[in-house]
């Protein structure tokens, strides 16, 4: 770097920023092939949900475009009994019974028929096959999976942000201040974490769902709140340990010696030094919360019926599997597996890249 610099260093005043720890971490991440592939996958998913949010893709996921349980296009030859039944019902002719002599409305039928004829009815033909098949109502499973990704990832990301935020603040206070504050928080943490996790989530869900104050808060925001408010415990413990460790480091003492306040020492000095822990925890919790949202929705406590998430898709899939319609399960399962795996591997690479050994 210095060799390059000497050519122009005489001219311009030296304002050359040198690589900070984040820049170095990014360089190391770029060399990690697995990490970069995972990053590309994750970015692809994020772009996809941005697309579905703005309506560029999967806008019409709720349109019933295909026949019930439409076959995936690569299985177009397969027999679709469900669709046949539906079609038969709609075309079946009921034997005509003449009731005109006893029907008081009989003289008006003709008039009504003429009037209905004036209204144009265009019946969209339902597709026999869809790209990745259809669900019970003939909705495109692929579009559902994309839209479902939007809900699931959104829930995972926001809930992870909330949990990391709570965990970091509480962990910082407890680890840095210690003493009575620390003791109190440890008690609170112990009580909180002594409740089995799933039970805790269900309890929160039950309270939220039944309280009238939360009425316009149901659905996705509720899921986010539940996950965020219950998921901070692990992060709290880690951040607390980091703050205890860093609190006694010389650079913090040096900051105290120059007169930096407590909050400055906590958040300006120590926090950037433990931020890699926050980041890794954040991404781990995104994965965990995506899975938790699936569980919640599967149990019927998650997102409402008028929207779709990977969890609701999986919940629907259990009845479909019985009649051999596997593609909804596959679509939700595969996309979730890809994202979660990519995210986990990205997290691992991030941890390697951010490992502050170079200090």
């Amino acid at each position: 770097m210095s060799a390059v610099l000497t050519t122009n260093s005489t001219a311009a005043p030296i304002h050359q920023a040198s690589p900070g720890l984040w820049t170095l971490a990014w360089r190391r991440l770029k060399r990690d092939k697995v990490g970069m592939v995972s990053l590309v996958v994750v970015v692809f998913f994020l772009l996809m949900i941005a697309g579905s949010y703005t309506g560029i893709v999967a806008k019409n996921w709720s349109k019933e475009v295909g026949v019930s349980y439409a076959n995936p296009s690569f299985l177009s030859g397969a027999v679709n009994l469900e669709a046949k039944v539906e079609n038969k019902e709609s075309v079946a002719k009921v034997p005509y019974v003449d009731l005109s002599d006893i029907d008081p409305l009989a003289p008006r039928y003709k008039e009504w028929e003429e009037r209905t004829a004036k209204i144009k009815v265009t019946e969209t033909p339902r597709a026999e096959t869809l790209l990745f098949g259809g669900d019970k109502w003939g909705r495109d499973v692929l579009q559902k999976a994309i839209k479902g990704a939007q809900t699931s990832i959104f829930v995972g990301l926001i809930a992870a942000f909330i949990a990391t935020f709570i965990g970091t603040i509480l962990g910082a206070l407890s680890g840095y201040l210690g003493g009575r504050v620390g003791d109190f928080m440890e008690w609170f943490y112990n009580v909180f974490s002594s409740i089995p996790y799933i039970l805790l989530i269900l309890a929160f869900a039950a309270v939220f769902a039944s309280s009238p104050a939360m009425a316009d808060f149901r659905g996705v925001p509720m899921v986010i709140a539940i996950l965020g408010l219950t998921g901070w415990t692990g992060i709290y413990r880690l951040i607390r340990a980091e703050f205890i460790k860093h609190g006694s480091r010389e650079y913090v003492k040096a900051a105290e010696a120059i007169g930096a306040s407590h909050s400055r020492r906590m958040f300006v000095h120590i926090l950037p030094n433990v931020s890699h822990v926050c980041l890794v925890q954040l991404s781990q919790h995104v994965v965990q919360f995506i899975k938790a949202e699936v569980i919640l929705s599967y149990l019927g406590l998650g997102v409402p019926v008028d929207s779709v998430s990977w969890g609701t898709m999986l919940a629907e899939a259990q009845s479909e599997l019985v009649i051999g319609k596997w593609w909804q399960l596959a679509a939700a399962g595969i996309s979730m597996a890809i994202l979660v795996t990519a995210f986990s591997m990205l997290t691992d690479s991030l941890r390697d890249a951010l490992d502050p050994k170079i200090k």
């Binding site: 030296i14 720890l21 040096a254 105290e256 007169g259 030094n273 170079i358």
Partner: protein, 565 residues
């Protein structure tokens, strides 16, 4: 065969992050004769440890590249070509190594006896009972008191010196033919250092082994080495018998290494540094002007400390608390523009005095009068005004700078907190000026601490204190973690700054030669007690207390002093 080990044309390169190659050792050759001690001396980065580690093949496999021409002949066998199994056999049995940090080299969850006897069982095929008995003899031989009891102790129950003795016991357990000691005394107090050096010298003679002793401090090896090899930047600058090296050094670098360590008998105005010797003219150290030290009766007193004491409370059991006194009634005065040296072994309470003065620890009693105001009685808010006037430079420059701050942020922060300077622009200018003052280029302003060496970081830490223009600067072992040559530069800088800004220093160190050089008055501490306070020349020429005499006796004397004595 005369030589137990011959290193021939050793070339080691390291693969760095990003594919760059770093030449660590560039074709060094040296021999270790039987029954003798060879010292490998050089600054950090000189390749001395790398050379030693490549003898036992303990370099990281992925990064280190050894040249195919290199040879390490141990009794005629090329170790660089030996199989891994053969190397495992040799390591610990024929060649053993002791490291710098005894605390991290011992396993904390096994008892000392367990760890020593494990070596014996693995390499000598002894039974458990045999190994245990032999371990006890070994602990006795390396001078651990009550070896029978200590066999069941865990590493944390031993002092640093005792831990190093255990490491030595493990190293000599299998009667090795070669002992490699990698800076074995650097982390220890002077008094302990002396004991360990004596022990190694004694064992070398009684066990008929050879020792390869690695250090950055030439003075340390004067008493024990037969042959000295001086390395710089991966090359051997000079090698010869200890007499040649100490009495008539040929290479300017060797001369510089010998001279830049403060000497108890001389006190030049500035310490000579390596560059002085490497210049075209060289340097005639005999003609350096000498500096006079000591308090004068009309000195203005900046800081007066009366009966300062500090107790730490240890919890015992559930509810009991026990007071552990760290400082028991320290009383001293600090004059403007003068330096008070604080010496003592670790645990003597010297650092606690420094931290308590600044209220980084709360004091248990006593007064600290600064401009007639008792700092210990002020409220947090009132103390803020005084905070900038007493500052501290810590020991470890790698830990005392926040790694996520640029040097600029580090320097601007205290000015922002204490509202020094009109606006940001003026502060930046002041920071730039200070960087130049401590001998750092202005580009450093935009860099991060990890891009600098230890000495440079210590300069940055000093610049950070200077931003607040303090009256009193506490240097807590500020040069102890640095190489002797870098130490001389930082000491010179501190001296220049004192002359320029008339600052007063409290200089805390375990190194008596450094304290003698920089201090006007010296305070000797032991177990929290002030043993002796006097002008520095007086205390060194005419120590009154037994403890002071003992401390002075353990200063490494190098070669010439020993001959004179």
């Amino acid at each position: 065969m005369e030589h137990i080990l011959q290193v021939k044309d050793l070339n080691v390169k390291f693969r760095l992050d990003g594919g760059a190659i770093f030449d660590a050792v560039k074709g060094t050759s040296f021999d270790i004769p039987r029954n003798s001690t060879v010292a490998l001396v050089g600054e950090s980065g000189s390749g001395k440890s790398v050379s030693a580690m490549s003898i036992v093949r303990l370099l990281p496999r992925e990064q280190a590249i050894l040249s195919p021409r290199s040879e390490v002949l141990f009794n005629g066998e090329n170790l660089l070509r030996a199989t891994d199994a053969r190397m495992r056999d040799i390591r610990g049995k024929d060649i053993s190594v002791i490291f710098q940090e005894p605390m991290s080299s011992l396993n904390p969850v096994f008892s000392v006896g367990n760890q020593v006897s494990e070596v014996l069982r693995l390499h000598m095929g002894m039974t458990k009972a045999q190994a245990w008995t032999r371990s006890e003899e070994l602990l006795n031989e390396v001078g651990i008191p009550h070896p029978k009891l200590r066999m069941n102790s865990y590493p944390h129950e031993l002092s640093g010196g005792q831990q190093q003795r255990v490491m030595i016991a493990m190293a000599i357990a299998c009667e090795p033919k070669l002992l490699i000691a990698d800076e074995p005394t650097t982390a220890l107090d002077v008094t302990i250092q002396k004991q360990i050096l004596d022990l190694i010298a004694k064992l070398q003679a009684s066990h008929h082994m050879s020792v390869l002793f690695i250090t950055h401090d030439l003075a340390v090896v004067g008493e024990i080495a037969d042959t000295v090899v001086v390395m710089q930047n991966g090359e051997i600058k000079e090698q010869g018998t200890a007499r040649q090296i100490f009495e008539s050094p040929q290479h300017p670098y060797t001369k510089a290494l010998l001279m830049c360590r403060p000497n108890v008998s001389k006190r030049p105005m500035r310490l000579p540094v390596i560059e002085d010797f490497m210049g075209p003219a060289g340097l005639q150290p005999e003609h350096l002007a000498q500096r006079h030290r000591g308090y004068a009766p009309d000195d203005e007193i900046v800081l007066e400390v009366k009966n300062l004491s500090k107790h730490f409370q240890l919890k015992e059991g559930l509810f009991k608390k026990r007071d552990v006194p760290a400082v028991k009634g320290a009383t001293f005065k600090l004059a403007r523009g003068k330096t008070l040296g604080l010496v003592g072994e670790s645990g003597s309470g010297k650092t606690t005095v420094g931290l308590t003065l600044m209220r980084l620890h709360s004091a248990s009693g006593g007064e600290v009068l600064f401009d007639g105001v008792d700092l210990l009685k002020l409220s947090e808010r009132d103390f803020m005004k005084y905070k900038r006037r007493i500052q501290i430079v810590f020991q470890n420059p790698y830990a005392s700078l926040n790694p996520r701050f640029t040097v600029g942020q580090i320097l601007l922060e205290p000015m922002t907190i204490h509202k020094i300077g009109k606006d940001e622009q003026e502060r930046v200018q002041m920071a730039m000026a200070l960087l130049q003052r401590v001998g750092m280029p202005e580009v450093s302003f935009y860099k991060y601490p990890h891009e600098f060496s230890g000495g440079q970081r210590q300069r940055i830490a000093i610049a950070r204190c200077l931003t607040m223009k303090p009256d009193v600067l506490i240097c807590d072992e500020s040069v102890s973690a640095l190489d002797v040559s870098v130490q001389a530069q930082v000491l010179n800088l501190l001296q220049d700054l004192q002359d320029e800004y008339k600052m007063s220093y409290i200089f805390i160190s375990h190194d008596l030669a450094v304290v003698k050089y920089i201090s006007d008055q010296v305070m000797v501490m032991s177990d929290g007690d002030v043993v002796e306070v006097a002008n520095s020349d007086e205390i060194y020429l005419n120590p009154k207390q037994e403890y002071t005499k003992k401390l002075l006796g353990s200063i490494p004397k190098g070669w010439q002093e020993e001959k004179a004595a």
